[in-house]
Amino acid sequence: MAFTSVKTLLDGYAKQDLNIEFWEYIMLEDMKDQQISRTESMKHVQELMSVMKQAVQNYDANQRSASGLSGGDGAKFAAAQEAGHTLTSGFIADAIRIALTMAECNACMKRIVAAPTAGSCGVLPAVLLAYESNFGAEPEAFIEALYVAAAYGQIIAYEASISGAQGGCQAEIGAASAMAAVALTYLHGGSLEEGANACAFALKNMLGLVCDPVAGLVEVPCVKRNVAGAVNAIAAAEMALAGIQSKIPVDEVIAAMDEIGKLMDSSLRETGKGGLAATLTAKKIEKALTH
């Protein structure tokens, strides 16, 4: 376990005298932890990036999940974008489309990268790939951003949780959104402090979000929550990059998330018993699926 809090991560980096960049510091610490070489580590992260891209490229508008609940929405949104009917355009609209697309790929049993979980796999690629097509950046910059995002994810996992069954959806989509916000801040040239603020904003906006998947399947509301996570990440990064500061330090926000997760009733932690899963329509869907 390399990083135990954002504070120790940033302090650790400030104290190092190797004259290396932040992402590299993270990579070196993790290489020690995993006992792997630099080449192995970089190759792995490159592969994560290419699997994300492939999934979006191979998206099939006709694919449907086994339950029939998911599929086709990414294509619908793409059509609206094409026709110029969307409220947003460019970066934000692309992020919405990619989040839908990736989350649907997951529901339809395609190859994805859990980031940090399969249910929240659309958030990070949504902001990274949309950034790539709207702002452009060197391929290395995305690899670096992934290291930085992963370090924050690791801290959230350590200080709180990244599992819906333990901490509710704030732990899954919330963590994904926080990681995406940090990645975006990094890509757009934000400082380390701005990255920490972006993480704090993204998480704060997701606090309390429960995990209530209909029929216990990672589909409804998960697919659309990936969109929420992506758009929230963009807003959080924007605020941080503008120099706005979180009144509550990021580590305390993470601790609050942990606390809230512990207070959450088990019916709202991936059991498929409360929240949206307990609605009349959800019950009907569940019944239809089990018969």
């Binding site: 390399a2 395609k110 994805i112 990268v113 979980t117």
Partner: protein, 249 residues
């Protein structure tokens, strides 16, 4: 993640307490960057799909041959939402040698049928088992095997029983499973041989089958174990069966 070497040899071990301590030690330490970003997997669920495929894959490695008969028992959440998450399909895919990111996983049933493999799937109820537990009974032409395994989340698993004997390992490391007659000396013999061949051991766990009068050692190693070492262990007195599991091979 660094594992500590531990030796447990205790008549009460199957009662589970010592094992829980070990399990906690391992799980608490296991988050690295690629646990956060990853695994690369076939959706939709890291526990119900990726973990299930891994359970099937480990079972295949332990069986050591292509299965001709597969009986899948699903417990808890695996039983309740497994079909919607493709749990049986992932287990069968794993048993056919597919890893959790294999794009053929969704077609595993078709493939199994074309190979003439018989598949039975049913729900089971186990007392005090993890909610995502599967019990697999598989037969090949030469061997058969029963394993009970849990999917712990994020694609990680724990094999908790092999042929009725309690075990506790996850397949992340090259793993050697040795069934031997329950009498002193065999453990030392095997570990001495491995030491002589300079194979670094990560963990050594010992279990005993109260019914069968034999013991099982599960040895996780930092390195691949060469085949000739496996043969040499097989030839040692008192050794009943040697199984070797290497997920990366």
């Amino acid at each position: 993640m660094t594992k500590i070497a531990c030796i447990l040899y205790n008549k009460n071990i199957s009662k589970g307490k010592g094992l829980q301590i070990i399990a906690d030690l391992f799980l608490g330490e296991s988050m690295n960057l690629f646990d956060i970003l990853g695994p690369i997997m076939i959706g939709p669920s890291s526990s119900h799909t990726a973990g299930a495929a891994r359970i099937g894959y480990v079972a295949r490695k332990l069986l050591g041959e292509e299965p001709i008969y597969i009986d899948i028992g699903l417990h808890g959440s695996f039983a309740a939402t497994g079909d919607g998450h493709g749990t049986p399909m992932a287990i069968v895919g794993g048993l056919l040698g597919m890893k959790p990111d294999d794009e053929r996983l969704p077609q595993s049933f078709e493939l199994a049928h074309s190979l003439g493999i018989e598949i039975i799937r049913h729900n089971i109820y186990l007392r005090e088992a993890h909610p995502n537990t599967a019990v697999l009974f598989v037969k090949g032409k030469k061997r058969q095997l029963e394993i009970q395994a849990e999917s712990l989340g994020g694609g990680t698993i724990r094999i908790c029983k092999i042929d009725g004997i309690n075990t506790n390992f996850n397949g992340d490391y090259p793993t050697l499973i040795v069934h031997n007659i329950d009498e002193p000396g065999h453990v030392a013999g095997v570990t001495a041989l491995l030491a002589k061949r300079q194979i670094n051991l990560a963990t050594v766990q010992l279990y005993r089958d109260e019914r069968g009068g034999y013991a099982v050692m599960v040895i996780e190693s930092d390195q691949r174990i060469p085949e000739d070492v496996l043969y040499e262990i097989e030839e040692m007195p008192g050794i009943i069966k040697v199984t070797y599991l290497n997920m990366d091979a």
